[in-house]
């Protein structure tokens, strides 16, 4: 083979490397330019409320994704057990997405409203106290840790930078919205519905009215998973791809 010529011409060699490497690059990157039509139009999908977003961040921090996927695959066994297969739209506001690659425990993409808040709190505190033989670790400290809401506006701003459409008003009120969502007595239900739509769940998730804890955030996040998209209103052509 005649690489002597290339090897003796530095600029040509550099150009050849660039050409070959960019083939791989284009194949990976080009689909992102068409992402607008890759993501289905899914009625009901909305960005997380600040409380749910905090729950998402705790989920990532604690490494729940190491044992749980959030991706109902297009396999019969998955759909029969967990429900409708996951849509791209359902994780479009997840940064980073939580599809996961391993199921030590069940898939959580549609766990929202499958169990009660009380059950989640008891289960997260001590999984084996409610599920015999579970190998999931306990996270009892979440109930005792006050949720740090100081940087919520910044957290939402960071999401905006990667494409999540939070409004100025949502950003400015992030910390307040988080506290209201975990406090049904606060009676700001209308404000929250104005800001995030009528599927926002307003409850004292952890059962402790005296404090908004990390447990409130994590349970609020778990309870919204897979509940937003209105599958009856979904255009079948939109998802047939």
């Amino acid at each position: 083979m005649d690489h002597a010529k290339l090897e003796r011409n530095g600029i040509a060699f550099a150009l050849a490397i660039l050409g070959v490497a960019s083939i791989g690059g284009i194949i990976e990157i080009a689909p992102l330019f068409t992402i607008e039509n890759t993501i289905e139009e899914a009625p009901g999908m909305r960005p997380y409320t600040p409380l749910e977003l905090a729950g998402h961040n705790i989920y990532v921090r604690e490494g729940c994704y190491a044992c749980h996927s959030q991706m109902v695959r297009t396999l019969r066994s998955d759909v029969d057990r967990y429900g409708h297969f996951s849509l791209a739209a359902e994780s479009m506001y997840d940064h980073p997405h939580q599809w996961g690659s391993k199921r030590t425990g069940p898939d959580l993409a549609r766990v929202g409203q499958k169990y009660s808040d009380d059950w989640h709190v008891a289960h997260l505190a001590a999984p084996r106290a409610v599920v015999q033989g579970s190998v999931m670790p306990g996270y009892p400290f979440l109930s005792e840790t006050r949720l740090d809401t100081r940087y919520f506006s910044e957290a939402l701003t960071a999401q905006v930078r990667v494409g999540v459409p939070y409004t100025e008003e949502q950003i400015a009120n992030a910390a307040k919205h988080a506290a209201w969502q975990a406090d049904p007595e606060a009676e700001y239900e209308d404000d929250l519905i104005d800001a995030y739509g009528d599927k926002v769940q307003i409850r004292d998730f952890d059962g402790n009215p005296n404090m908004v804890s990390e447990m409130d955030a994590l349970v609020a996040y778990l309870q919204v998973l897979g509940t937003l998209v209105d599958f009856d209103a979904l255009n079948p052509e939109e998802i047939a791809r």
Binding site: M1, H3, A4, I27, A30, P31, T34, N37, T38, T74, L75, R76, V79, D80, R81, G83, F85, Q113, K114, Y115, S116, D117, D118, W119, A122, H123, V130, V131, Q132, Q201, I239, A240, R241
Partner: protein
């Protein structure tokens, strides 16, 4: 410049020399190259036959028109049709008729147990015997009656759930909301202990009779036997949902209780809910009328 040939192997060298060492310019083995070309050919065929690459507002659909989403919808529908046939009886008969057919148990219990474990065991336990806060579903003590229809309805709408027709069962926070003084609560607790035949202070319990009649009987019934209309439990038996010790009772009266049973009509089909109803009836009680 012609490359130098190595006299021993007869191959060309790369033309470089490092401290007197030269390198042969040997091509990779044929089999290896062949494999590489086959892979490239298979990839090209995939591009032709299967959905491959997006462009503009669409993507290459591939000659076979395959879509994994359509394929799974077909597979799920086929599975459901097969199941509908195998479990035909649960599609066509109502729960009362099914409850009269004990022979179904031997035939279907194994399959339905899987459904139970996927959806119910986390709260009610694998054996359906419940745990604190989650009722035992195998005994004769029911919150909403053990008749097949009522059980089916509970599964459909849940209790204190997010369903619009949910059953509501709320035990008020007698202490926190200051319905009664702490001393009065103590007296009522002694009365409740007496109802279930536990150790109690007879004088305090006597003071509790009227308090109970005024504050509790509207839901728990005059004799404390509870009622199926509002899911208030029977307080005279030993089947406690939240525990029957003095400390448990104080906790219940102080903070109130409202256990949540999720609604299943959105998650499970009507036939699946019927199957689970039957499954519960088979788990050892079946006294629908008590």
């Amino acid at each position: 410049m012609t490359p130098e040939k190595d006299p021993i192997s007869g191959r060309e060298t790369t033309g470089h020399e490092w401290n007197g060492i030269k390198e042969l310019n040997t091509p990779i083995p044929k089999a290896f190259r062949l494999w590489l070309w086959i892979s490239i050919a298979v990839a090209a065929l995939y591009w032709v036959f299967y959905p491959s690459f997006p462009y503009g507002a669409d993507y290459l659909h591939g000659a076979l028109g395959y879509s994994s989403r359509e394929a799974v919808q077909v597979a799920v529908a086929e599975g459901a049709a097969t199941r509908a046939e195998a479990f035909d009886i649960f599609e066509t008969k109502d729960v009362n008729e099914l409850a009269e057919m004990p022979e179904l148990q031997a035939q279907f219990e194994g399959e339905i147990a899987v459904l139970y474990r996927d959806n119910c065991a986390a709260c009610h336990g694998r054996d359906a015997k419940g745990q604190k806060g989650f009722p035992d579903l195998t005994d004769a003590h029911w919150l909403w009656s053990g008749s097949p229809e009522e059980i089916e309805y509970t599964l459909q709408v849940g209790i204190n759930s997010a369903h619009e027709d949910t059953r509501i069962a709320e035990m008020p926070a007698i202490g926190r909301d200051e319905w009664l003084e702490q001393a009065e609560i103590s007296d009522v607790i002694d009365y409740v202990l007496s109802l279930s035949g536990q150790e109690h202070d007879a004088e305090a319990a006597a003071r509790g009779i009227d308090l109970f009649a005024e504050n509790c009987a509207s839901c728990h019934n005059g004799e404390g036997v509870g009622g199926y209309e509002n899911g208030a439990p029977d307080l005279t038996d030993s089947a406690w949902l939240y525990g029957g010790t003095r400390a448990d009772l104080r906790e219940t009266l102080q903070h109130g209780r409202a256990g949540v049973m999720p609604a299943w009509s959105d998650r499970l089909s009507a036939a699946e809910i019927r199957k689970l109803t039957l499954y519960l009836l088979w788990q050892g009680q079946g006294d629908g009328n008590s």
